[in-house]
Amino acid sequence: MTSLDTSPHLIGVDLSGFVRIEKGGSERLELLVKGARCAGCMAKIERGVKALPDVETARLNLTTGRLQVTWRAGRADPAAVVRELDQLGYPSAPFDPLEAEAQIDREGRKLAMALGVAGFGVGNVMMFSVPAWSALFGQEMGDGSRTAMYWLSAIIAAPCTVYAGQTFFQSAWRSLRRGRANMDVPISLGLTLTLLISFSETMMGGKHAYFDASVSLVFLLLIGRYFDHQLRHRARGAARALMMLQAPTAQLLDDAGTAHGVPVREVRAGDRLAVAPGERSPVDGVVESGLSELDLALVTGESAPVSAGPGVRAPAGALNMGGRLVIRAISAAEDSTLAETARLMEAGAQSKSRYVRLADKAAHIYVPTVHGLAALGFIGALVMGLGVREALLRAVAVLIVTCPCALGLAVPAVQIAASGRLFRKGVLVKSGAALERLAEVDTVVFDKTGVLTVGRATLMDADSDALPLAAQLARASRHPLSRALAEAAGPGPAAPDAREVAGQGVEARIDGETARLGRALWVGADIEAGAETELWFRLGDRAPVRFAFADDLRPDAPATVAACRKLGLKVLILSGDIGPAVLRAALAVGVEDWTSGLTPVDKAAAVDALQAKGHKVLMVGDGLNDAAALSRAHASMAPGLAADVSQTASDLVFTSDRLDSVVIAIRVARTARLLALQNFAFSALYNAVAAPMALLGLVSPFVAAIAMSSSSLIVSLNALRLYRTDRS
């Protein structure tokens, strides 16, 4: 977890595996830089990195946080860049070239391009549509001029519609081939019919050409599509960035003992890996050399660390708390302890993909209704003897005015507003469906370690005389307990000549006397080895002083539990930790319903059992042992410091320290659901008025254009109310 503050684990590691060679022979590296938010940061970083020897260019993308560095051929020195960034105060992680390629947002670019073209079409078609409309109102324009105007608008509108509408045509075709009709089927049908009928009308010199309507239909629908895509893409990118900063590389040792940074997925069974203090074991392994303690909180939920020496198993995700360890991988990353978890997660993901989204539910009603009405209008007009042309016009008018624009925008507009609001509060929403599911939950299941508690050691009781002295030694160490001690003591000097003794502690001289901070026996405390979560300090010959640490509750955990209850939610704790530790936390936050000692499979089963009883469960968890439960729960949330599988399994990730993010997310999700339903109600009302008018042949191209855009505008404005409730 300390890796989020700096990137010490990357310093002194060979990162050449991440460098790509460009066509011209120059070498390129992409890094993700954390915390660069302002123009000043950008200038500082680019100037700093460009000043390094042999660097040709350095360019930071402030929107995505990606830094691109190029060197002259054969001169790449990635370590220097990481060191420079670290000195400037920005932690960084190199992009795996494959990963960088995968992150290029092709679909988003296609949508943005289509949106741009449609926007251009809507704007410019009005040059010719407005004069044509005025001709409809008896202004001085002859039939010939009106037809000319229609032809001119066709020149702009038809190509734009065909180009920008491809997204809908392709999706409709895919859906039809599978024998189903999604929302894109009536859209594509409407667009095609509108264009065809407009051409035939114009050729016959008629008044009912809807070229402008066709292109504005595409434009408005694309806005909704683009929002939906942006929402998913941005949140995924941000979530992936979080994970990259946590475990970017494994340090593979070659025969000479030099560490090379390699992407974790390239680790094979039998490889020797170095795990520095404060780092996590990237794969399942067995310790070969080194003495330390391992924190298994993310793996099993146990809050007390276990001691590790040669022969001890170090599962993937175990945090090294003490000295440097060398482990031998016993499996590749893909088939480590996670195999079972992954299987459970897959089952969860499948059940989630069966979830029917609000918009799809609406489409199920909308599609048959509208098609039925249009058919009815066509047949009705024929029966009344109005002729095929008039009958076809009425059917098309129904398809246009009951356009699903409002419907297509109703949900995405609300969800993009909701996720924007949550983003500012430090909560990443991975998809719109996640928000919809979150709004429905009636039960919250918390994991204990890392969720209700902060997930790392904090100093419990301290001797106030010894603390400032011990802190001088602690500041010189990277050991997690030392860091906790230094944090508790606040800012101050670090002992200048401090040296770390692997697996034992830190030694330095203070005022001419030898001071030691570390294990009881090493310091010389004459006691049996106590709990692992303690440090001993001794100055000269004075009596040793004990510093005890514990995994503290998050300060807002009790308030969060109370707030969840107030929202009408049932609250449970499911933990893998031992009974007494869970009981203590449960009492402190005020939850009666708790279970301890659960394996990952037990947790998933407990969630399944709750859901079988008809509950909709929100699972909040951070460990590898929670991943299965997270993916099976109706909705799930993970803190930003959680294991990467857990973040992948979760619908939402909260990056702030505050647990009340859970309550905020539920509230926003519920408001979003309410607004989306309001939008649907409005769309239904609008269609209830517009459809009969179109059936009776009362809709001119002008009325269609006005009705369509104003209904879209109204649902978008309603979605923006999410921001207003934010301020109050």
Binding site: C38, A39, M42, A43, R59, L60, N61, L62, T63, T64, A112, M113, G116, V117, F120, N124, M127, F128, S145, A148, L152, I155, I156
Partner: protein, 51 residues
Amino acid sequence: MNIIVFLAPFSLLLAGLGLAGFLWTFRSGQYDDPEGDAARILFDRDDDRPG
């Protein structure tokens, strides 16, 4: 009204220029980093190459 014969194609031409301009800005990556590009103009050392 004869003026329309000249004006209408001319306005189409202008609109086409606008579209071509948009496609060019899009293809040359000018929408890739809206935040960064907005800030770059404030730098003392001029750098006019888009990302």
